[in-house]
């Protein structure tokens, strides 16, 4: 019996002070101010939103921005599209990431490190370069189309960017490395003797996988799904560079309102609603997560 490791009882104020200062100053405060801006009465071209009024000026508080947004069909469409895109991208990412992670997990150590480096390498490069490279790949005269036409799958080159497929491919490409890292870590944590034990008891490879590896990796799948969803909901670069004006997500909308229309209250309100959507999706996510957790402990 090992007794609990006792933690120190003291107050580590000095240790946490820098982090707390950073967070308060550059995260909490701006976010609070953002909420304030969204409630600002100034409409239209309100510049940086606060204008000369200051934080507490009475008479400049209003829910007008929210009322407009929530009443608009336009906004509702953008919202729906963002959520659907987010879920879609997360789903595709998981579908590709899981088999890939299984493959990497089973590799011998040297090859495994190489493979993981290969997965992470795109993240080291500038995101713009990657999109650029993707664009070249997906263009009408690019290799992908060449392959498709050559295999006879399509009769003529398919436009794969500046449209929805382009956005899906792009966002999946950006998020995949994170999902793979999480899943490989989760798979590595499973006791490696369990699968051979199941096989020794007479289980076929597929059935053994289904009953041991898969349920035991469920927490990893849940985490990977969560992370993918969160990042996919914030999709900005994909839609902007690889999508058409129709592929409008909340993130793009926020940028447009704030920096192009210079309508800060509206932009801020959109941003706040976006965070609310994120939080809502996170809470809703708990449902399948709980199912996954129960499935794992099922006899």
């Amino acid at each position: 019996m090992t007794p609990h490791r006792s933690r120190h009882g003291g107050r580590p104020y000095l240790l946490v002070a820098p982090a707390v200062a950073l967070l308060l100053l550059f995260f909490v405060a701006p976010m609070l101010q953002l909420v304030r801006v969204s409630l600002y009465e100034g409409g239209g071209r309100s510049g940086f939103g606060i204008g000369g009024g200051g934080f507490y000026k009475p008479g400049t508080w209003t829910l007008q921005a929210y009322r407009t947004l929530l009443g608009e069909t336009y906004f509702r469409e953008v919202l729906t599209f963002t959520v659907l895109l987010g879920v879609g991208v997360a789903g595709i990412t998981l579908a590709i990431a899981y088999p890939l992670s299984l493959f990497i997990h089973r590799l011998p150590p040297r090859a495994k490190s190489l493979a993981l480096t290969a997965v992470v390498l795109p993240k080291l490069a500038n995101v713009l370069v990657l999109i650029y490279g993707l664009e070249l790949l997906l263009s009408s005269s690019g290799p992908v189309n060449g392959l498709l036409v050559g295999l006879g799958a399509v009769s003529e080159p398919v436009t794969l960017f500046h449209n929805l497929p382009g956005v899906l491919i792009g966002e999946t490409y950006l998020i995949l490395p994170y999902a793979v890292l999480v899943l490989v870590a989760a798979l590595d944590r499973i006791d490696p003797t369990l699968l051979p034990a199941a096989r020794g008891l007479g289980a076929g490879p597929l059935w053994a996988f289904w009953r041991t590896t898969l349920p035991l990796s469920a927490p990893g799948i849940a985490l990977a799904a969560l992370l993918s969803l969160i990042w996919a909901l914030g999709a900005f670069i994909g839609p902007v560079l690889l999508g058409s004006p129709q592929e409008l997500t909340l993130a793009v909308e926020v940028q447009r309102q704030t920096f192009e229309n210079i309508n800060w209250p509206r932009g801020a309100a959109t941003a706040v609603l976006m965070l609310v959507t994120l939080a809502a999706c996170l809470t809703l996510y708990q449902v399948p997560a709980r199912i996954l957790r129960r499935w794992r402990s099922m006899p």
């Binding site: 493959f103 795109p122 650029y132």
Partner: protein, 273 residues
């Protein structure tokens, strides 16, 4: 049954290898193009040329962008190292109210979309008077590297055998001495990798740079941006390859630093005999 095993394994291997190659392809393609001698966006046919690399270093705006990127990365990493390590030590070795809350809050910036972060920081930084300086960018980047450093250092601290610190204390070392002589050397690889990750994140970070940069304080990704949207030249490819090269150099440097440290250690301990 054995046949289905090898078939499914084969399929899995093909899938795995294929996907990995696909992941690397855009990268490789862009690198390949950066060596093209032509004016257009086409892969080099025949000869390779360093033309675009030369061009990159000739353009003051681009080299300034690179220099800014490095400065911002340095600033943000120093801040997140101090903050993240301190917080990780506090979270793993101390009981205090709000420990769980703080550990959660520090991760929040990762989940907030960059657009929203950029939006929020812009007027606030203006208000603080930091607008138009590299500090504003460093602050934005620090928001991301802080949680990363925290997570990495925290997991390293949790893996340190607690009896090592107990042994040190029992031998008469104060808590501070214990940390300096025992804990810190053991978590140093993690701290370093957290720093490296922070630098990599910062060098390549684009969205916050887009929102917060002024013409004087453009980081390299921000410089590339208009080029990407409006005029595509291989200059972009060359610029990004320079960034990637720098990043890889940094990683290699860290790895070799760790090896050098071990080498020096062995020299010193042999000298003591």
């Amino acid at each position: 049954m054995r046949r289905s095993l090898s078939l499914s394994r084969l399929f899995e291997n093909v899938f795995g290898l294929g996907t990995l190659l696909l992941l690397l392809w855009p990268l490789a393609y862009a690198v390949w193009i950066s060596f093209t001698p032509s004016e257009l966006l086409e892969p080099p046919r025949g000869e390779l040329s360093l033309r675009w690399y030369r061009r990159f270093f000739e353009l003051p705006q681009w080299t300034a962008g690179l220099w800014n990127s490095l400065k911002v990365a340095g600033l943000s990493v120093v801040g997140s190292l101090v903050g993240g390590t301190g917080l990780a030590v506090a979270a793993t070795r101390y009981h205090f109210r709000g420990r769980r809350l703080l550990s959660g809050v520090v991760l929040l910036p990762l989940f907030v979309p960059a657009v929203v972060l950029g939006m929020g920081l812009l007027p606030w930084l203006r208000f603080l008077g930091l607008w138009g300086s590299l500090w504003s960018l460093a602050a934005g980047h620090g928001l991301w590297s802080l949680p990363v450093v925290f997570l990495v250092v925290r997991s390293a601290l949790e893996e340190v055998d607690p009896s090592l610190e107990e042994a040190a204390r029992g031998l008469g070392a104060s808590p501070f001495l214990t940390f300096r002589r025992v804990t810190l050397p053991l978590i140093l690889p993690a701290v370093l990798s957290g720093a490296v990750m922070g630098i990599v994140l910062s060098l390549n970070e684009f969205m916050i740079a887009l929102f917060l940069a002024t013409p004087d304080t453009e980081t390299l990704p921000k410089v590339i941006w208009p080029n990407l949207r409006y005029t595509l030249t291989p200059l972009v490819a060359a610029a990004s390859c320079v960034t990637m090269l720098l990043t890889l150099l940094g990683l290699a440097l860290t790895a070799s630093l760790l090896r050098v440290e071990r080498f020096v250690d062995r020299l010193v301990s042999r000298g003591k005999q």
